[in-house]
Amino acid sequence: MKVMRAEPRAADDGRRGEPARARGRALLDALRWAEPGGVVVVAVLAWEITSRAGLLPRRDFPPATRILSAFLTDIRQRELWTGVGASMRAWVLGMLVIIAIGVPVGMLLGSSSVSYKLTYLTLEFIRTLPGIAALPILMFAYGVGQPLVISLVVLAGIWPLLIQSMYGMHDIDPVAVATAKVYGVGRVRRFALVDLPSCAPYIATGLRVSGTFALIFAIGASLVVGGQGLGDAMAEAARVGDRSLLFARVLACGLLGLGVALTLLALERRALRWHASQREAAR
């Protein structure tokens, strides 16, 4: 364990002292990426070959090159971007509402042990229910359109963030609170100095989970009810019967999902930089 902890410092010194070593490290990093990259290339090739050789029904599984060229054509066209724009707008607006409600309500519920005990079981239960099931009722209330999508995104995506915020407040180190109190730190400053920093890791995790959930519903809503969005763009490709285009749009969806997930992860890491040593040690 001690050896592990000494290691990064040695690497640091090396980087400062010897540029050659740093270059070696960069090469090593590149090599580390070579193998996973190779796996991706092999997977794409395998797809191409099985499709061309007719091992899978070629009509249903267009070759990878076809899909890629359809993808490259599609991203130069308006239609895809209108869908992406509509879905992302619903996602961003939904996430703003989720943050505005989820964090304060969660922190409030977690701040007293009574309200925590009263609500955690119910909330844990609600989170397991499929939010999408509320869609028909929301359709009665909002009709079809952007408000429907946003309310669905909020209803389905708010729970992880709300619950994490609650756990964050609940798990605050009592010693830190007592210390702040003894030193006469007022309620407002205590919130900024103790409560917020100790909730931050929980909130960041909740934000990541809520964000990925919300994206599913931002895309999915237009698939179920129509209207503008990526879901509808995919449904359109399926209606036209253009399999390459359909796969290309699914690829676009996956890339969007990956982009959102990586962005939220980077945000989480950045927010927790001061906390990172703990996370390293926990692994």
Partner: protein, 258 residues
Amino acid sequence: MRAKAGHLLTVLLLPVTLPVLWWVASSRSSTPYYPPLQEILRGFRAVWTREQLAGELVPSLVSLVVGFAVAVAVGVGGGVALGLSDRLRRDVRPLTEFLRAMPVVALIPIALVLLGPGMRMEIALIAFAACWPVLVSTADGVRAADEVMLDTARIFGVPPRRRLMHVVLPGAMPQVMAGARIAVAAAVGTMVVANMVASSAGLGYLVISAQQSFNVIETWAGLLMIGIVGSCMTSAVVLIERFVLRWHRRWRAQDVDT
């Protein structure tokens, strides 16, 4: 003992009072879309006749259970493989991350085209959506296997396969079950969406077609049934978790209390 009873009372207060509150608050509701709970319950009994249960509920339950079982099998198998080999995990990471980030709804059109509407498509989608939480947390659990126990087993000459079955897997079990609990929610949600988009039977189909014919009571009755199915699935998994981890529970109880 008394403190414990008081604790239980506080915890259960809201789950008990919420339906009562709903009943009271909706009893005079004049908004057509939020009918009184009393009417919903009456409608619930009228909607869920025996034929309806057989025609709409059973197909949903079958795809749900089969899809979930496939997801757990794939998730545990893949998770053990990824957890045991750092190299394998690193190499397939771009692929797993891409697939994991793929919103499952994006796969509905493809599944529909390839498998056609019906149970096979639903099972495939449910299995896909639900396997990731199991896979990821199983891999974490396997990676975190107790080094001392592993070394001890190795020194005593326990062969690799038995080490896996008797040291690594039991050690990862809490993580596996935690993943399975998250997977339930993913499975039920996917079942409902797949039903809504691409089926002619099932719970999701029932609520969406009731909505389209502006049958408010039937929509609520279907929604209620989805809630019941979801909570039964979750309770079942929690019960299985308790059974599987009964050797582990004292440690867990401590962990929760402190």
